[in-house]
Subunit: 378 residues, 2 copies
Amino acid sequence: MDSPVQTSTLHLDRPFRLDSGDIIRGLTVAYETYGEPNSARDNAILIEHALSGSAHAAFFHRGDPKPGWWDAMIGPGKAFDTDRYFVICSNVLGGCNGTSGPSSRNPATGKPYALSFPPVSIRDMVEVQRMLLAHLGIERLRSIAGGSMGGMQALQFFADYPSLFDSFICIASTMRHSAQQIAFNEVGRRAVMADPRWNGGDYYGDVPPEGGLSVARMIGHITYISEKMMQEKFGRLRKGKDDRAVFRPSFEVEHYLDYQGIAFVRRFDANSYLYITSAIDNFDLVSSISGANRCRGENRARGTGIDAMRKKKGLVISFTSDWLYPTQQSHDIVRFFSGLNASVSFAEIETDHGHDAFLTDIEGQTLIIRSFLDALIP
Amino acid sequence: MDSPVQTSTLHLDRPFRLDSGDIIRGLTVAYETYGEPNSARDNAILIEHALSGSAHAAFFHRGDPKPGWWDAMIGPGKAFDTDRYFVICSNVLGGCNGTSGPSSRNPATGKPYALSFPPVSIRDMVEVQRMLLAHLGIERLRSIAGGSMGGMQALQFFADYPSLFDSFICIASTMRHSAQQIAFNEVGRRAVMADPRWNGGDYYGDVPPEGGLSVARMIGHITYISEKMMQEKFGRLRKGKDDRAVFRPSFEVEHYLDYQGIAFVRRFDANSYLYITSAIDNFDLVSSISGANRCRGENRARGTGIDAMRKKKGLVISFTSDWLYPTQQSHDIVRFFSGLNASVSFAEIETDHGHDAFLTDIEGQTLIIRSFLDALIP
């Protein structure tokens, strides 16, 4: 596909009600699509992005040499084959890449929401996508797929509306965060909030809390790659002069983290970081579809939802060296959905790339996902 | 021992030369001793503290209900039995608990050194302790022992002056940091330096960079305890109201980290944190005693130092759930000193307490250390 893609925007006229009861007016949703719907309109696949992703999952924007964040997986002949599937991706609620979030203008005040933007949940994110699907005239999807937080959205959306999807694909993710996973996110949030420039979230039009957000991202990057890969790539190699007197980066691994931090603050909003990581930490699939929290989705009407899960298929993928979302958490997902009578396949991919493997280990994922999708064809 | 201990201070009249060639004038060393030297003055054991420790390793200070940081290990009948051994502990160079460091007054200016304090190394720390031993009239020690950074000092001191010690005890430590270990420290340093109150290190007399230092400590605490223990202790338990709108701590693990961060900034200097973590990252035992870096110690005069290691004993201890200093790094220590003809024992203690086990798992360590020390008796 040589012609560039563009991000489209859906404006929702009516107020959007969150799971908490809060209301967002003037909601906008940024999205992209790749490939075409077939005549039966049953070949759509919804792609869910991770913490720092965007609607721009594949192909190129005009004048931008960098393709979308999962371009290696989405396109003609790729894992999500755009010659066969109509692929949709949207930016999450609470984000900062076109969908409403804390940096968006509050129509009631004309100023950015900042912390007056209501807290959002993973369920809120997928409810926004349900509006988008309705707008696109898609009533049934072949699959919903994502890695990391994208996997959480896939699980939540599939569990809430099993009749909407033939299948789900959940990669390097979990049904809920452990204490350590919460801890890493919390330290990132504290780093942002400890930066005086954060100013209670009210920094728009001023210098944003770049120092704090950069530290948060550095912490993230330690958890995204494996200890082994970090050692092989950097070890104790040094770069430049050892300027310990002023504590400038001296080891290559320090330069790497420094670069990752700086690159991130250029493209991401600090408040969105707080909102989205909180949504991740609060995500708890089992309690969300079984407990008092339930207030959305068809399972509520249908009771257990077990009937709706029959004949549905799931694919769960983990990576051997992913220590942020270890394989055990993927086993838990398989067990849970199998218990709901879905037919769930599991694959663990051998890799040294850690959590980032969902973005980098293309060949293994492509083989598994292609054959999984092929087997869905009625 | 009911009578309280006091911290003593040694003032060095002559200039102290660091490994780098830098000079510190008016060096002070804070230290404590427990037990008494025997008549042969050959029953001393030097205790080395970790990153945030102090000279106050055991017993009580007058009016302080909290004992020293390793009181469970040092005392009559304990692992380091003060009825039999003369135990010495001093605050490290670069620290902030009585020994000269960046918060000390520079005699040349009358103001705190801040970043004009010269960068220090683990070797510099032990050279300061060599002056202290001379001051105390101790020419030969039964052992030198420490956990974490304390273990690094024990290894460096023992390797530089093997004829000074009968043995070393190295707990939960390493001969050098891996890329991931450097990465965690570097993110902590960035957190401190990203806080505008750090002000290039020049914050004395003003509000210190508490936010940044607190974030650094929170990162540390995630690595100090095991994932399993964190999960069992906190899981997804909540404390107080879930106040997501302002991103206050809601999960118990968040409150725990928050508390650890706040407690730390009350007792520790942010610049010392930078100096000491840099010394840790730059520590590389093998290259320090074999390469061009060598400029101290008796090995320099004696060549390989292998002769001096004969009849010397070492004890290396690791903990199964310590993911900050994993057992493999202890194996490397055993292999290295065995290769130098020292006789090195190794014990891995089964525990869920992670790296902190060197402070908490008293029974296992006591059994192993007591029998190791008993076997040293000539």
